[in-house]
């Protein structure tokens, strides 16, 4: 069934959560789904349900309250999953990094696999990041499969 998994490689479903920040990256993420950039031609689909999603797109700086929601969403997603931090606020907090209620970066709350800086990240950059994330996801999936199939003498 190798061809099935290779065909599926680039069709991950996305879950977007805006944790705070200014919305700029969130709008650019939606703009990447619309006709000029059209993320859906890669088979990616924006879904509202964490249980269906493979890639979690985090935009905005994480505060105490939205951090809980983010953690919750992350835990509801099924393995394998990839987290992409879009925009400087999600990476390090950006201009708000010394705010009194903010975590400096989404990686303090959930493990982040891919960082995409810029303020605000362009749709092109978001496409780049999501394609890289799709590759990462395929890699993780392959590794997991190997781990399941591996014979004991091949371990190590």
């Amino acid at each position: 069934m190798a061809w099935v998994s290779s065909a599926r490689k680039r069709s991950p479903w996305l879950l977007h959560y805006e944790t705070g920040g200014c919305n700029g990256c969130a709008i650019e993420f939606v703009a990447a789904l619309t006709p000029l950039y059209d993320l859906e031609r890669f088979g990616m689909l924006n879904t509202g349900n964490p249980k269906h999603a493979d890639i979690l797109v985090v935009t905005g700086c994480v505060n105490a309250r939205s951090g809980r929601v983010l953690r919750n969403l992350y835990e509801q997603m099924s393995e394998p999953k990839v987290v992409v931090a879009v925009g400087v606020c999600a990476c390090t907090g950006g201009i708000f990094h010394d705010g009194y209620n903010l975590a400096p970066g989404a990686d303090k709350v959930v493990p982040v696999d891919l960082y995409l800086p810029n303020c605000a990240a362009r749709p092109e950059a978001i496409i780049d990041a999501l394609l890289t994330a799709a590759d990462l996801l395929a890699e993780t999936r392959r590794r997991d499969q190997h781990a399941h199939q591996r014979a004991p003498d091949q371990q190590g």
């Binding site: 805006e18 919305n23 709008i27 619309t34 939205s66």
Partner: protein, 359 residues
Amino acid sequence: MKRRTVIPFGPQHVVFPEPIQFRLILEEERVVDAIPALGYMHRGIEQLATVKDFTKTLYLAERICGICSVMHTLAYAQAIEELMGIEVPPRAKYLRTIWAELGRLQSHLLWMGLAADAIGYESLFMQTWRAREVVLEMIEFTEGSRIMTGSITIGGTKRDLHAESLEFLLHKLEHLEQALNDIYPVFSDDPLIKQRTVGVGLLSKADAIKLGAVGPTARGSGIAEDMRLLGYAAYGELDFQPVVETSCDSYGRMLVRVKECFQSIELIRKAIAKLPPGEVLVKVKGRPEGEVIMRIEQPRGELLYYLKAGGDKSLARWRIRTPTLSNLPPLVHMVKGARLADVPLITLSIDTCIACVER
């Protein structure tokens, strides 16, 4: 007594690009009460402004909201200029107007797309956002970035529009007007949209005044209220009338926004035609001192800034009252008695911008 159910709506929901929660109290299908729960996007900007340099706070103001970033910098720059007694060159005033109107265009188009999506009209959503990319291209060409433009600064503007940029603007405006002409009849006449919006989310004129509605929400209820009539930037020299609808429902508010897109195009054309020559930036020296209140018209309504400075490097107090905050009481009023399926659309009809509210 009928059984009551509480449904949490949000914070993560496909209709919203941003998190807010409404606890909807239902009696069967009807909403009896809605309790908004805020705090998911709070960043403490007002506190940060008391620590940061007042020139750096300009960038903080820009990042209050990504959709109306131009408006926030405009309001902040105007407030500081009033405190320090700086007279902005006339060319800069016109440039500010042009960029503010471009910002309004992209914001309204964004809203129209989201509203179409909430109605379930996917293809209209795509068409609207396709038209929006034209506006973004104009913004990027003239200001150097799509969202965070940073063109307006204290004492004028950082960039100037050359003949080439003006030509580009006029050329793209024609494209945009064509696209809008295609979109407009769909919003105004399509039976699908009419069924979902006419009579939904009623807010009478008296209620709108009583609950303090602002911007398109007030104008959709027949109140001719527009802060641009105050004549800040170059609005005083451009002749225009606020768009008013009297149907008092989601449909009216939607039409106000669609018509304002055409108005913005007209305003940009007028401003380009009248653009005076000269400098765009004056040097700023010293530190602000005193108190000031600045009101400008955001795409969502009236934005109010209160600034207090004591002659220090940073401000003593910066209070931001955003239009969405003023529109939340009318929203709670409108949601009562509505069907559950209409709640996303009613919420959208005031054009919620949570990033602004919570700062």
